[in-house]
């Protein structure tokens, strides 16, 4: 504790003729015991919120890194480039451990009590929906995504006492050897509707960024259909835009919803403009222009 000075030898200097009252001395009265018991409850709540918030910040950072890795992908294809998939897997393993560490704290009534401290889930949804889109060119449903995230939290729980190598082996190291009834007892974290919806809102921004880079490098809009006759990313974004426009307004947090919707609208318009540019000016490309062979622009694995 501070409160007094020390001499050169490090011994506390006593102030002469002035005795301070002992710090933290509380004048007790009839109400003190009640407040003390309430304090203990409040402290427990604040501590828990802090722990969740800390893990949440880390999960957000990791999710952002996953998204950055995924933005280096150059085509929609069912298998991601190996180095990127590996990066994603290691980060997911870290996220799994973090999720597992806070899962016991957010069971039952506490799930929504600390929903605000768990904003990381929105970011994680963004990363995972983007991951799913790049592989399949579809939007993962809320149910499937919830199952994936719940599973992730359980895996993290298992990984904690098992060997780390398991997690690093990547590709969601199968933990099926664990009895499934035991799996169900492990505390886990699911998604709320808001986590999912807001995450998907943000997905449109990532899709826009992805469409911009790939179209600049390859000269055409990304699509999982190599022949060019299937739907491309612009049509997908239109569809997502319509999806959100037609959903009824959320009564609760209208302003967040509208803000996100506006950003989505802008993203859609940006890719529209891109496609228009490709159509009109694409024919003006100099003869002999060849698109960059995809993924050739990647300087190996960064970091």
């Amino acid at each position: 504790m501070s409160g007094f000075k020390r001499d050169r030898q490090g011994n506390a200097k006593r102030q002469e003729g002035f005795s301070k009252p002992a710090p933290k001395q509380i004048v007790r009265n009839a109400l003190t015991p009640m407040f003390e018991s309430l304090r203990d409850e409040l402290d427990a709540h604040h501590d828990r919120r802090d722990r969740i918030g800390k893990a949440s910040r880390d999960i957000t950072a990791l999710s952002k890194k996953i998204i950055f890795s995924l933005q280096r992908v150059r085509e929609i294809y069912e298998r991601l480039p190996e180095d990127i998939q590996k990066e994603v897997d290691t980060r997911l393993a870290e996220i799994a451990k973090l999720l597992a560490s806070i899962a016991p704290e957010v069971q039952g009534i506490n799930r929504l009590r600390y929903a605000r401290s768990l904003v990381c889930l929105e970011e994680l949804v963004e990363a995972l929906t983007f991951h799913h889109y790049l592989k399949t060119q579809t939007l993962i449903t809320q149910d499937s995504l919830t199952a994936i995230i719940e599973d992730l939290a359980r895996q993290g729980f298992v990984a904690e006492d098992e060997i780390m190598a398991n997690a690093e082996a990547g590709e969601g190291a199968p933990n099926e050897q664990q009895a499934s009834d035991q799996q169900n007892k492990i505390p886990t974290i699911g998604l709320t509707d808001n986590d999912y919806l807001y995450g998907v809102f943000d997905l449109t921004g990532e899709m826009m960024r992805f469409a911009t880079t790939t179209s600049a490098l390859s000269g055409k809009m990304a699509s999982s259909d190599a022949t060019g006759s299937g739907r491309d990313i612009v049509r997908d974004m239109h569809e997502l835009g319509t999806f959100f426009e037609t959903l009824p307004l959320r009564a609760g947090n209208r302003s967040t919803w509208e803000k996100k919707l506006e950003v989505t609208r802008q993203s859609v318009q940006k890719v529209e403009k891109l496609e228009y540019d490709l159509m009109v000016r694409g024919s003006e490309r100099p003869k002999g222009w060849v698109p960059d062979p995809s993924s050739a622009d990647q300087p190996g694995s960064p970091e």
Binding site: I26, V27, N29, A30, L31, T32, M34, F35, E36, L38, R39, E41, L42, D43, H46, E78, G108, I109, N110, R111, L112, R113, A115, T136, Q137, T138, L139, T141, Q142, D193, L197, S223, S224, D225, G230, R231, R235, D236, E239, L240, F243, T246, L247, P248, R250, A251, G252
Partner: protein, 242 residues
């Protein structure tokens, strides 16, 4: 594969739409229930404002019976709310009714402090502060639930409700002197100081509770000024002969 599978699973839209519509319907119903409760709370608060012009001797006959009737309406409102909200996730909607419930708690705390709401085992007396559990008992709802998700009164609700009455009491200290009841002012002074010390026991974070608790010191100052004025003029009972 992209041809066979659409971007968005067709069932997803309806699934989300239904959820949002349900949510909207719940909010509408809640609004009505909370509106009713707010009415009762405002009515009771209005009745309680008479403390500033009613001498203490008239509390039991004139003031308290009416206020107790107001509180009874409040408890009914809270009961309706509790029944409806009991089926919902507490923390999903609680911010909608927190304010109304906190104000209701305030009226109950103030009424009992004035000696109202006496029961068989607990006679009404001036200066009585109800604890969290006792407040829950008045409303007939659980408090500080941790193990299950249902309607309840939280610690924060109680503390915020408690902060609310401090300002009212500080005002009463002044007005009771005007009504010739200096003893009441001294009583309030002691209570407000105890409360102030009590709130300092808490480790508050930078949140709404902290903000509101910070305002207590002004009430303490107000009450101290009144007591100072009284003691300067030897108007405090029991000390007059000195």
């Amino acid at each position: 594969m992209s041809k066979s599978k659409p971007l968005i699973d067709p069932s997803l839209f309806d699934q989300l739409r239904i959820k949002i519509e349900e949510d909207t319907a719940i909010r509408k119903d809640l609004d009505k229930i909370i509106d009713d409760l707010t009415q009762h709370v405002a009515y009771t608060q209005g009745l309680l404002s008479r403390i500033h012009s009613t001498p203490r001797s008239k509390y039991p006959d004139v003031l308290l019976p009416m206020v107790e009737e107001g509180v009874r309406r409040e408890t009914e409102g809270v009961k309706v709310l509790g029944e409806f909200a009991g089926k919902l996730s507490y923390y999903k909607y609680c911010y909608r009714w927190n304010r109304a419930v906190q104000d209701a708690i305030s009226t109950v705390l103030l009424t009992t402090w004035l000696g109202g709401l006496g029961t068989e085992e607990r006679k009404g007396e001036v200066g009585k502060l109800l604890g969290l559990e006792e407040v829950g008992a008045v409303f007939g709802v659980p408090v500080n639930l941790k193990d299950r998700d249902a309607f309840h009164i939280t610690i924060e609700d109680y503390l915020l409700g408690l902060v609310n009455i401090v300002d009212e009491l500080a005002r009463l200290a002044m007005n009771s002197v005007t009504l010739g009841d200096t003893e009441m002012a001294v009583k309030i002074s002691g209570f407000v100081k105890d409360l102030h010390a009590g709130f300092q026991v808490l480790n508050l974070k930078n949140d709404i509770l902290r903000k509101r608790v910070d305002s207590i010191k002004y009430s303490v100052k107000k009450v101290e000024d009144v007591v100072y004025d009284l003691s300067l003029r030897n108007l405090i009972p029991g000390r007059m002969e000195e």
